[in-house]
Amino acid sequence: MSKNEQNKIVDLKNISKSFFLKGGLEIPVLHNVDLVVYDGDMLAILGPSGSGKSTLMNIIGGLDVSSGGEYFFEGKSVNDMTSDELAELRSSDISFIFQSFHLLSGKTVYQNVMLPLLYQRTFKGDHNEYVKNALKQSSLEEEQWHKYPNQLSGGQRQRVAIARALVAKPRLLLADEPTGNLDSKTGDNIIDALTHLNKEYGTTIVIVTHDESLTEIVRRVITIADGHIKETKNSHI
């Protein structure tokens, strides 16, 4: 096995995805997508609305399954995984940052961040230590830890979502339009935080976006249109 093979986290081969409407009408969304994500990588999947980039992210994250092709996560076939095994994958190895944050309103910042650890079957560490580390990595002040999401600004909420994504120390972090609901200054701060995570801790990050300005801060840019990968280019970074 080559070094590159060893460093592959995500390996998509000929992935396709179709949705079926009532009456059996097929809507193809992805066509024969090949994509490799390496350990420590930071790449952006760029494309307009409806191009299939979010569907691709959902398949990479194990939230959805492909209609055809093969998907290997660290060499293991994701296609063959059961529902429980996919849950385990999301619990231990992959985490998400969503455009609309998806924080639980009835829980404090601290409780929101702890949630992924509580679903882990094999977690042996100290929950509180992990949560505090994640909150610190996301630059959330201690005075905000016991606030509820509705007491925070948009930027702070996204930092909570980042802390929640980091808490279980995932192999891969998927961010779907992470700055989509934020003003440009706050959005820049969030991107800085993600870049810092990648550089400082080596966290592998895939950002799904239609914001072309983000291509400046990632190592690779995958452009997707109409369900096809049109272009892959390496950034100057």
Partner: protein
């Protein structure tokens, strides 16, 4: 740890929607009150009926049919018979005490009343009517009759006092406390020797049943066959005929009564169960609404690693907690309520009470949990089967 976490999540979720949770609990509370009260009432009714009818189920063996005094004498002569008692209700007779008219339940008795019948002697004695020539104009009154007369006239009839029964004077020789099966008019009971009623109070000289006490109660089967055979022979019937006479043990009579009482209890329980069923439907409705409202949350939980069974258990725990909490509150209200209801029933001289036994409490508790599981399965299964990507995308 895992289950504790899921329990905490469930409770937090219920607290988040406290008003809706409490409204759902009320449905279960009403259902459990209904079931436990009905079961308690059924138990009280069953006890009451059994107690009252047990008073009739006297002796070891009871022979029913168109029986005559000579039959009683013949049965009495059987070697395995220790004592006999025949009772006959005398209807349409007025009793006058202290110039006031009463309508007690009058029973004409012959045989060893003291040996076979269940009663408490309060004063005097119960006459021995074993002798066919017994013709003393005496009677025994019940405490209820004594009290009825006392309430009406202000005077209490005691031993030696003479009262008029159908125009003839009878002397009180005994006062007893006796169970009456609840068929009297409220004026208590009077016992009169059968021999003194022939040709006066009683229109016929037959009995509908004879109670028999055996030398050894285990003889009941052989004794029953022998007596029926003899009675049939005296009427020129085949020895195994069951057309005219039948034999029953006291135990079998009580068992039949208890079976009937149990059916009444079950019927009452089912009526109460309808309210609980409606409460269960309310719980399911609430859980379905809750799952629909929390679709995004469920999607998020799945996205961060929750398995199908984690979601299923969390929703199921919520449902079971609601119904069990409702069950406990319902049981507490029923226990307190039945205490006060029984105080009221006691003060109003009712002999029926609501009996909330540990069995009823345990049954109600288990049923409330079971309702939570049954009516929680569908919503929790729906929630657990949600695809994370669809759930996150939902509005």
């Amino acid at each position: 740890m895992k289950y504790l976490f899921l329990i905490k999540e469930s409770l937090q979720s219920l607290r988040h929607n406290i008003l809706r949770s409490l409204l759902t609990v009320i449905g279960i509370v009403v259902g459990i009150i209904s079931v436990t009260t009905m079961l308690g009432l059924g138990a009280g009714l069953s006890d009451n009926i059994t107690d009252r009818f047990s008073a009739f189920a006297t002796g070891d063996l009871s022979i029913s049919g168109d029986l005559k005094y000579t039959d009683l004498e013949w049965i009495n002569d059987r070697p395995y018979v220790s004592a006999t008692l025949a009772e006959k209700s005398v209807a349409g007779t007025t009793v006058i005490v202290y110039s006031s008219e009463f309508s007690p339940s009058i029973t004409s008795v012959v045989g060893d009343y003291a040996e076979i019948q269940k009663y408490e002697l309060l004063d005097g004695e119960v006459f021995d009517t074993q002798s066919p020539n017994f013709s003393d104009k005496v009677l025994v009154i019940s405490q209820d009759f004594q009290e009825a007369v006392s309430e009406e006239t202000g005077q209490k009839p005691t031993l030696g006092h003479k009262i008029l029964v159908d125009g003839q004077q009878y002397e009180i020789v005994g006062i007893i406390d006796i169970e009456t099966a609840g068929f009297n008019s409220g004026d208590g009971s009077i016992l009169i020797p059968y021999q003194t009623t022939i040709g006066t109070l009683s229109g016929t000289d037959t009995f509908s049943s004879i109670s028999i006490l055996l030398e050894d109660s285990s003889y009941f089967e052989v004794a029953g066959v022998d007596i029926l055979s003899g009675l049939n022979a005296s009427r020129n019937l085949s020895s195994d005929s069951t057309d005219s006479f039948s034999a029953q043990t006291a135990q079998s009579i009580i068992e039949t009564i208890q079976e009937t009482a149990n059916i009444i209890s079950i019927f009452l329980g089912v009526i109460g169960g309808i309210a609980l069923f409606v409460g269960g439907i309310g719980t399911m409705n609430m859980m379905l609404t809750s799952v629909t409202e929390r679709t995004k949350e469920i999607g998020l939980r799945k996205a961060v690693g929750a398995r199908d069974r984690d979601i299923l258990l969390q929703i199921l725990i919520e449902s079971v907690f609601i119904t069990t909490f409702g069950g406990v509150v319902g049981i507490i209200i029923t226990v307190i309520g039945s205490y006060f209801a029984n105080q009221f029933l006691l003060s109003s001289s009712s002999s029926i009470s609501i009996i909330i036994s540990w069995n009823v409490i345990l049954t109600a508790f288990c049923v409330s949990m079971f309702i939570g599981v049954i009516f929680g399965i569908y919503p929790s299964r729906n929630a657990s089967k949600l695809q994370p990507v669809d759930a996150l995308r939902s509005d």
